[in-house]
């Protein structure tokens, strides 16, 4: 339905692939696409600007420009930056050592505070085996207390509410009561309010002053637009928040608000909520939201996987060997093994964004059994034969065929192909020994 960053990059890559290297102008185009992707994901425009400056610095290094997959490298840097920011300090919850841990939830109207209170209560109860209680301090919205009580029944958690009390007294009295009944965690649900409503904001300031909560969570709708920065700033100014609970991630929102908020208040997303069920609630994993914000998925994983398996040093050695026409069967099999480590051929090609478009890929019929057979043949060669393929004469071929359970004609075919490949690769590598892929 929407053009994702992946397809845009695919087009860009397609356009410049014959040029070989990326020019600084190409890099600007790539950064522009990222800018658009981030804006479409609701990342605040000021944040986008700052963020891209950061990325540009990291991405203009030679490493990226001379990489064989420069755009993917740029995306990878962006992705890493997002994860780095969103990931710092996230993950889990800390409990107070003396007395019950008091958690206060704040946020705008309709972000999902009440549902999050219940989900968090259930999460703590189930995961940490703690006794959790709730104070219903939203005295404004009709039936808000009833909603809380109704949902709390399902998870067997006590709710405190008393009709004639203001939110501050309610919180104080509730905490006093639940301390006596031995609660480990007490969660205070507050009414939704605008961060610019002074009267209402003073109310949570007062609650905070009087009850001194251990944790204050801002509940943020993942669909929030450009204003997310001001909302988070407003709340954080008045009641310093410890983290964000990001809700409604079961929608198809890209969730850029999470990034905006981090930039402004430097507070991590602690939990996410992603469905109508009580256990649709989890600890926040930055990787998931990062690729969501960028509107792409597997290329990042692929580049990462390939990087883990083939070190840069190894790649350099291969490049040089190709240039000097010294590539041998030892290199060949180590390359094959690397590819196999990444996954099956189908899987690798499905991860590549341009698979469907590029006719070359459609023509190549790489199936895994073919690779296994080649491997068997090479494994039946002696070390010397692998290093110096030209010494493989008739009797050696017979022996290799027998050892690998194949025929001599198959060995001949492989040797011929290998020779051709070696020549072809030599053609694609330029005078500097840099290797350019033929597609």
């Amino acid at each position: 339905m929407f053009e994702t960053l992946t397809t845009k990059f695919e087009d860009l890559f397609y356009k410049i692939r014959n040029k070989g290297k990326l020019s600084p102008g190409d890099m600007d185009n790539a950064l522009r696409e990222i800018k658009l992707a981030l804006l479409e994901a609701d990342v605040n425009f000021k944040v986008v600007k700052e963020f891209l400056e950061n990325v540009k610095e990291k991405a203009t290094g030679e490493k990226v420009l001379e990489s064989i997959t420069p755009y993917q490298q740029v995306v990878k840097i962006v992705n890493e930056e997002i994860i780095k920011m969103l990931g710092s300090g996230s993950g889990g919850i800390s409990f107070s050592s003396g007395g019950p841990t008091i958690i206060m939830m704040v946020g705008l109207q309709g972000t999902g505070k009440t549902s999050s209170v219940i989900k968090l209560a259930n999460f703590i109860k189930v995961r940490f085996n703690k006794k959790v209680s709730i104070v219903a301090a939203d005295i404004y919205r009709p039936a808000a207390v009833l909603q809380l009580e109704d949902m709390a029944k399902n998870i067997n958690v006590d709710v405190f509410y008393q009709g004639n009390l203001d939110p501050v007294s309610l919180s104080l009295k509730g905490i006093e009561l639940f301390k006596k009944t031995g609660s480990d965690v007490i969660i205070i649900d507050t009414a939704g309010r605008l961060q610019v409503d002074d009267v209402m904001m003073n109310e949570i300031v007062n609650i905070r002053k009087r009850i001194n909560p251990h944790q204050i969570y801002l509940v943020l709708d993942a669909m929030t637009g450009q204003e997310a920065v001001n909302i988070a700033y407003g709340f954080n100014q008045k009641v310093e928040c410890d983290g964000i609970i990001l809700t409604k991630l079961d929608s198809d929102t890209r969730g850029g608000a999470a990034l905006s908020v981090y930039y402004v208040v430097k507070k991590p997303v602690k939990f996410i909520s992603n469905g109508e069920k009580i256990d649709d609630f989890d600890i926040f994993y930055p990787e998931r939201i990062a690729s969501r914000i960028l509107g792409m998925g597997d290329v990042v994983t692929l580049v990462e996987k390939a990087e883990k398996i083939v070190s840069e040093k190894e790649a350099k050695i291969i490049e040089e060997k190709i240039y000097r026409n010294e590539l041998n069967f030892e290199d060949f099999i180590s390359q094959l093994k690397s590819i196999k480590k990444i996954g099956s051929m189908d899987k690798i090609f499905s991860m590549l964004p341009f698979t469907n478009k590029n006719k070359v890929f459609k023509k190549i019929n790489l199936d895994d059994s073919y690779i296994i057979r080649i491997e068997a043949i090479i494994n039946s060669m002696t070390i010397e034969e692998r290093r110096k393929p030209h010494i493989i004469n008739g009797s050696r071929r017979k022996r290799i065929a027998k050892g690998s359970g194949s025929s001599v004609s198959e060995i001949n075919k492989l040797l011929k192909q290998f020779d051709k490949t070696r020549q072809m690769l030599k053609q694609f590598s330029d005078a500097n020994g840099k290797f350019n892929l033929p597609f």
Binding site: L39, D42, N44, L108, T111, P142, L194, T224, T253, G256
Partner: protein, 290 residues
């Protein structure tokens, strides 16, 4: 002579840079209002054409050109009237994702029409959310309105059927149906709404008079996905833009109108029941640049 050319170049470039800065600033302001990038580009292209051909470089005049383009997209006031049937009861179906303010909007709409002397019935077809019925009941009592509700988790289609029956028996002018919030990505819940719509059309033998999507003005680009998918399932007649008292501008509704041609009909802006009004494109557009 060389020096003069150099100076002229300098002035020209400075002017050009200022101009670029000016356009960049305008663009940022529009994006900051949650207008989509494509709509922003479309509007600015149009305005640049006019500005360059007529040699307009006064920022205020350019801003008013932009406002003019936005108002052109949003349409004039005549489209915003709610459709009232000649054969009562008129039926309004209120839909949207979770937390946008559907129930409050239903109460506000009911209050508005009651003030105009209409007999209003509220149909509590949100049978899912805990205490949703109690919330709308509270409003119905406050406004002294008829209400039809069933048990929790009962079939919303059945609630709507009963509501239509009761409306006929009591000679009700307007039935307003509150539905459960649902993510546009939830296929089953969207199907449920299609069924509810069928129940209504089956009873009144015409299209539902208004099917209004409630859009939270703090929502960003996802509001367009919401409008698109709800529209595909239900053929929306308009939008209620809520929480316009927040600091968000709600500019995504311009994109929704531009791309999907769904008009904004009402705006709400506060906790009180009379914080609702018909959409005013001029006022709305002014607020984008204030």
């Amino acid at each position: 002579m060389q020096k003069l050319i150099k100076n002229l170049n300098f002035i020209w470039n400075k002017f050009k840079n200022d101009r670029r800065l000016f356009w960049d600033e305008i663009e940022e302001q529009m994006v900051a209002s949650d207008i989509s990038i494509s709509t922003t580009a479309k509007i600015l292209d149009e305005v640049k054409k006019i500005a360059y051909s007529e040699n307009i470089d006064n920022p205020e005049r350019i801003k008013s050109l932009i406002k003019g383009e936005i108002i052109k997209i949003l349409g004039n006031g005549k489209n915003f009237n709610l459709n009232i049937s000649a054969m009562p009861p008129t039926v309004f179906l209120i839909v949207g994702v979770n937390g946008t303010g559907k129930t409050t909007s239903v109460a506000k709409l009911a209050s508005m029409f009651k003030k105009n002397g209409k007999k209003v019935l509220i149909s509590a077809a949100d049978t899912y959310r805990a205490a949703a019925v109690e919330q709308i009941q509270h409003y119905a009592e406050k406004l002294k309105l008829d209400i039809v509700y069933h048990q929790k988790f009962s079939d919303p289609g059945a609630v709507v059927y009963d509501s239509m029956e009761k409306a006929k028996a009591r000679e009700i002018d307007l039935v307003i149906i509150d539905t459960a919030g649902r993510m546009q990505t939830s296929h089953n819940l969207m199907e449920e709404l299609i069924k509810v719509k069928k129940v209504i059309t089956g009873r009144i033998n015409r299209n539902v008079d208004e099917i209004l999507l409630v859009v939270d003005s703090t929502t960003g680009q996802n509001a367009k996905n919401q409008a698109e998918i709800f529209n595909n399932s239900l053929s929306l007649t308009g939008i209620i833009l809520t929480k316009t008292d927040s600091t968000s501008r709600g500019g995504i509704v311009i994109t929704i109108k531009n791309d999907l041609n769904i008009p904004i009909k009402l705006v709400t802006d506060g906790e009180k029941l009379d914080n609702i009004s018909y959409f005013d494109p001029v006022k709305f557009t002014d607020s984008l640049f204030s």
